[in-house]
Amino acid sequence: MSKATFETKITELDEHIVEIVSDAGEGAQAAGNTFAEVCARSGNGLWTVEIIPSEIQPPPHTTGSASGNRIRVGNSPITNGGDLTNLVVAFNEMALLSRIQTDSLAPDVTVIIDDMWSRHDDAQIRQDYREILDDLSAKGAKVWELPIETECQRVAPDSTRGKNMFIVGMLLCLYNKDLEAGFTIVDEMFGARSQAIVEMNVKLMEAGYIFAQQTFAETYSIAPLQDTDNLVAMNGNTAIALGSVAAGYELCAMYPITPATSASHELSDFFEKFGGIVHQAEDEIAAIGVAVGSNWAGKPALTITSGPGLALKTEFQGLTVMSETPLVLVNVQRGGPSTGLPTKVEQGDLLAALWATPGDAPKVVIAPSSIEECYHIMPLARKISEEFRALVIVLSDANLATGRQLFKRPTVNPDLLSNTLDMSPVPPGTKPFDWDPETGLSQQILPGRPDGMWVATGLNHTPEGKINYLSASNQLGMTMRSRKLAVLQSTLKTPEIFGDDSGDLLIVGWGSTKGAIWEAVAKERAQGVKVSAMNIQFISPLPPGLKEAFGKFKKVMAVELNYADDPNDPYITPENRRYTQLATILRSNTLVDVDCWGKVPGSPLMPQEVRSIIQTQIENIK
């Protein structure tokens, strides 16, 4: 019974983007997660994006209330949220409208909607419903108005709640997935709570499945990945939380802020089992202060925040750099400036991460470009911070934070999970800033070691850690702190170029847009376009070889989710144009005329947007 039993046409697909949207609280998110989980377990590539209402409890049956999930499923590894939606299941017409308003649906989208609204008492609702659907149909959508609530009530007369599982059942049928796998997940979700709930949901799911069998003459099939061994699926904030454990952190000092907080929620859940503590401080200044104190004293600590919190941590960043205390600061970017678009994605904090600190404060800035990297960047960041006694800022963003992706299950290195302090007496003459004159590197002396007493300070200081106001001492300290970046840079490789090493156009990006950019480039290359892509993980220090690599292309263009003036806008000239943030840095570093495309839609970059950028650029080049 777990496969469609009567004759339907099964269309093989490479991938599909499916959305499930309802009013907040109606369960579309759970439905999406369940469907995604079945797809993942069946071996599909996957990227999910949460659809979150902006208010906590928005008025129901409004566009602001739309809540749900966007699931991109494919037969190959999936690195981003993709383009327009192929199939949407909407609990009501306003949820559907919100997706139209955010330009997320393909013109030929398949729409499945509960037809109960066509019979609603409120004439306005009936009218809206009709107009929205007619409009969609006119533009090419394929609309299925189905008696979902009615069908659900047959199985569960009292429940308006179970609709979401009915819909999962429909989707399992539509995509020829294993219904039993859906049952398993229901059991995992509710089994511990109540067997009655499990049964009810299983019944609804099954009913949805059967209803779909009877309804759809065409269904879809998406083949599994070639290699599905040893994969995990999680979102970027979970990856950061688990990566922090893997890196051996023992303290996370934070203050709640969206979209960073969920990483701390995860840690709060399990950190204590690993000997760790989440300290929710009174504010972000205290949070970084606690982390600095802990690292200075010998317990590895990190701090996690988003834009406004990053701003508050500015002063302490200076002290961290000056006192050469290792610190990893994770900043999960959201829309700015100021409170901005708190739940939405943007890559607008790059320059702030690099240069917010008054005075010259060299620091390391790195950005994960996938959810997998969110995990692995944490041990890397810790290692750099300790070996270089440096501040390392990790720039993630809301897209990575809440997106869910499949990746190779990391292996755990137990050696990172212990933190034994060297408490041996300090040999005479050892200095707290025993800078190697070539590299600027030195060893931190942890408190507790006999004969090692020294005082950390944010004032200029000598190798002995003594306050000093003389020119030569100040110049030396600055030089040593800066030199460390050059040393780190000398260990970096030129970032891989995706595509040919030379050609017409090189698209450069950083962070979470990698998936969309590379996918777009792959597709354009498949059309014969001479475009390549580069993703820059180390932004401070920048890796070597950029200028040379850029020189092999007719044009280099940064594509970023942050603001740039449109060169065609009034008053904008080549002289006053404000470039995207990475472009600003690359231009300075390479003197190559790096152009840029920067927008701030608050939503993840779509491959098709990048393709159209590429197409326009290629036309201009020719």
Partner: protein, 326 residues
């Protein structure tokens, strides 16, 4: 409570292993007559009396004249940012519960820019001796009114006298939940200061000690010039700090039970208008420290156990092979 003979010897019959020099780096660079010198001396004597190994003490400060303290005390030290000594202290305390922690701040440092951390760190009740060198002025930046400056204080930002009644740090701390120790002493009363610091040092939890501190350069007249005329009263109780009146020989002694928060609040409320209380205002030995609160929930295990556990967590996110899930 069990008492073992080694413990007893260690605690009570110890010879002072350390000399004052063991706690001294360079000569302190405060002005002549600055009350900070006295406070430093009292801390050093107290450490010697407590036989503290210098390497096991961490001194954290903010920014101000007062916050130069760690540079002159031979312990591990962190001279942090203006107003931010307490967050760093929280981190240090969480990181190294086995170390002894001394936090030193000025009045501007703690009560003005650091006010938020002040409230909240009291509530955390970290295990630390927290001293405020309160000279009722911003000294390092050369004389601006601080929150504790008496109304009418002539300063560079209040050249015709400061405008507001001073903030009362005692009455504020006495409203904070989880408060465990509050005392007040004065920089020109070396005996009382040392006795107070000693009590604070031995207290488990956050011992908040306000030291009225002379700044002869910018506030020579504060505290009646630190003369015998300074209107003060010594608080006395069997569980309190023994009055050592020094120059304030004529100051009255009043009975005060430091376990009585409301009595303490009453005394504090009138401090400025009436007599500055010296001694132990409040003591509650029952409040758990933040380390106790937090680490009692934390599992200790070796790296292999942790790796095993992390593997389990990773597995719980595994897909593709549902049979392998735990």
């Amino acid at each position: 409570m069990s008492l073992d003979i080694d413990d007893y010897i260690a605690k009570e019959v110890h010879a002072c292993e350390y000399t004052l020099d063991d706690y001294t780096t360079e000569p302190a660079r405060w002005c002549k007559g600055c009350g900070a010198h006295g406070a430093l001396g009292a801390v050093q004597r107290m450490l010697r009396e407590n036989n503290e190994a210098p390497e096991n003490v961490i001194t954290v400060s903010g920014i101000g004249c007062s916050s130069r303290f760690p540079h002159y005390l031979k312990t591990y030290g962190f001279h942090t940012l203006h107003g931010r000594a307490l967050p760093v202290s929280v981190g240090v305390s969480l990181a190294r519960p086995e170390m002894k922690l001394l936090t030193v701040m000025g009045d501007g440092d703690c009560f003005s820019i650091g006010g938020n951390h002040w409230l909240h760190t009291l509530r955390y009740n970290i295990n630390a001796t927290v001293i405020i060198l309160d000279n009722e002025i911003y000294a390092l930046t050369k004389k601006q009114a601080s929150p504790t400056s008496r109304q009418g204080t002539m300063s560079n930002t209040s050249p015709r006298g400061s405008y507001l009644e001073p903030l009362n740090p005692l009455s504020i701390v006495l409203g904070v939940t989880n408060l465990s120790f509050v005392a007040q002493t004065a920089s020109w009363l070396p005996g009382h200061m040392q006795a107070t610091l000693d009590r604070a040092w031995k207290h488990k939890g956050l011992a908040f000690v306000r030291i009225l501190q002379r700044c002869p350069v910018f506030m020579p007249d504060a505290f009646s010039g630190a003369s015998a005329e300074f209107p003060a009263q010594f608080l006395e109780h069997c569980s309190g700090i023994t009055p050592d009146k020094g120059i304030l020989r004529n100051a009255p002694t009043v009975a005060h039970d430091p376990s009585d928060i409301n009595a303490a609040q009453k005394i504090a409320a009138n401090a400025h208008k009436d007599l500055e209380p010296l001694g132990l205002l409040y003591l509650n030995t029952e409040v758990p420290t933040y380390n106790e609160v937090r680490y009692s929930h934390v599992q200790q295990s070796d790296k292999f156990a942790k790796a095993e556990l992390l593997n389990q967590y990773l597995d719980s996110y595994a897909i593709g092979n549902p049979n392998e899930e735990g």
